[in-house]
Symmetry: C2
Subunit: 325 residues, 2 copies
């Protein structure tokens, strides 16, 4: 590294042979020598870290692939660390990446209000970009997010037009932007159609199949249970499907179902399951591009919002009994 | 790091205050001081790297979680790097982890015969453990693998007993141990039951939905197509299901199907899909334990083999037309 730096900064103490070898490598790798020289002089390591809330969410793999393609193109190595949805592990990972001197970080935090993580981010001396998260305004944290609100608003509006009047929404923690936005989307749809906010019952739980199963059963046990369920997480969906099977309720006949995110079960379930889809690879790409801009000190956006799409499928059936309207 | 090392090696040039602080941290973190002192004197970084062939395989997340739990317990940080099934990227990741001086590596290589990777491994000065891979004997490479052979042998034997006589097996590359072992498992079942080896048609392809779809269509287009398909990879399964849907063939009626690995679609497909399951979390745990032993210079196993289980489900139906036997 120091040889490269000396060559690129025209240091006198460099042999002609070393200079030739370094410059050849620079050309072969296709770096812009100005940027590379600058970076290396600053002590850059040409590496970035990506702290994932939970590697077992298949969306994470797509986000990571999108980001990695951009970083590779720019000559950066990306290392991933999995926080297992544990705040303690998350701040330990951020500290680890700091000591290993990555040039920047992508963060899909497991909580937006963790004090230890917030304290670390205040002191962080490399740029970072949040993915699907937002921090209080004082952080001025750049982020790339999906427009979950409009996706869920469209889905619930479609369900209302099919005749549904009572909705159950499973969200992840409301401590995370996507949970709050999905809830806001349902409420907006109810309001637009002149329904009562109380007809949209939201259950905020950790994103796991077991939580999804229990929450779905709780919804079904209500005196007036919802006729349509929105599973706001692909791990929650697994639990919802288990609960519906246990109760012998047929998706798309006895109960309407909308999921979020395209995963293999939404396509292969019979009937196929409607989804609010996001552009996961695009999220990764956009986050990597934003981080590169920040690392280069270029002017860059604060928040990038990517659209979501509601994909209708036969799981969105009318309610079994049409309510009196 | 050097302060800690000086304290633990009783270096004279250490203030009593620093000594107290370091020892307190050592106790709080629960390290065995002897091992920690030794490691730090050797220049250990208390970090390990895990190079994954493909992060989009959901099994990888389970393997990584299993490994991380063990490393965390032992005080190590684990960083992941995704090779995207590209040999070039894989060797670049191994080089990167070497320069960042991890203390050891877990490797789920995308190919067992890549020359650049093999050359790197010959020169590697930290221990490594392969996951679901094997290298030529001269490497004496420690590895943790699943017994795919016996799982597939059991599955094909059950299908033979149901009346099937012609089988299509989609394997990943035969350049990877699991592909070869699955093929051997099918051949052993055919032999045990006195069938011709030619009645088990193996198609070796890269692990992607598109490849799985094309290969399944090729099998169905044979003059005497198989009556049972074994999708030897959870990504191939997605493609197989697409091809069967396109041809309007009902799983468990028109064609029997066995998958490998428990993923949400195998449970929620109707009918549910039989699988040869492996212990993915256990693979990660065993690999991490083996790597820790190697890093500590303790005596350790060469190869650890974990069992697989055949889980019967209704996708395993008898053939539509019973062949004359």
């Amino acid at each position: 590294m120091s040889s490269v730096s000396r060559v690129l900064s025209d240091h006198p103490d460099v042999s002609p042979k070393l200079r030739a070898r370094v410059l050849e490598a620079v050309v072969q790798l296709g770096y812009e020598p100005d940027y590379l020289a600058q970076s290396l002089r600053r002590g850059a390591t040409l590496s970035v870290g990506f702290v994932m809330a939970d590697i077992s969410n298949p969306l994470m793999a797509e986000i990571a692939s999108g980001a990695e393609a951009v970083f590779q193109e720019a000559g950066y190595s990306m290392v991933l660390m999995n926080a297992h949805n544990e705040e303690r592990l998350e701040s330990s990972h951020i500290r680890f990446l700091t000591t290993r001197r990555v040039d920047g970080m992508l963060l899909s935090l497991s909580s937006e209000s963790s004090r230890p993580t917030q304290r670390l981010l205040t002191r962080l001396d490399v740029p970072y970009v949040l993915i699907e998260r937002e921090l209080p305004p004082r952080f001025q944290a750049p982020s790339v997010v999906s427009d979950h609100r409009s996706g869920i608003r469209t889905a619930v509006s479609e369900l209302i037009e099919l005749g549904h009047r009572r909705f159950g929404l499973l969200t992840g923690s409301l401590d995370i932007r996507s949970g709050r936005e999905r809830l806001a989307g349902m409420r907006e749809a109810l309001e637009i159609h002149g329904l009562d906010a109380g007809d949209g019952i939201a259950v905020s739980i950790g994103l796991s199949p077991a939580n999804g199963e229990r929450a779905t059963e709780d919804l079904l046990d209500l005196p007036t249970p919802p006729t349509a369920i929105i599973a706001g997480g692909n791990q929650l969906l697994v639990g919802t499907l288990r609960a519906l099977a246990k109760r012998n309720l047929k998706v798309g006949e006895d109960i309407a179902l909308v999921a979020v995110d395209e995963v293999p079960i939404t396509e292969f379930h019979s009937p196929p399951i409607a989804v609010v889809a996001r552009d996961s690879t695009g999220l990764g790409r956009a986050a990597a591009e934003l981080l590169l801009q920040r690392m280069r000190g270029e002017p860059s956006a604060g928040t990038v919002v990517l659209p979501t799409t509601f994909v209708w499928r036969p799981s969105c059936s009318p309610p079994r009994v049409q309510p009196v309207t």
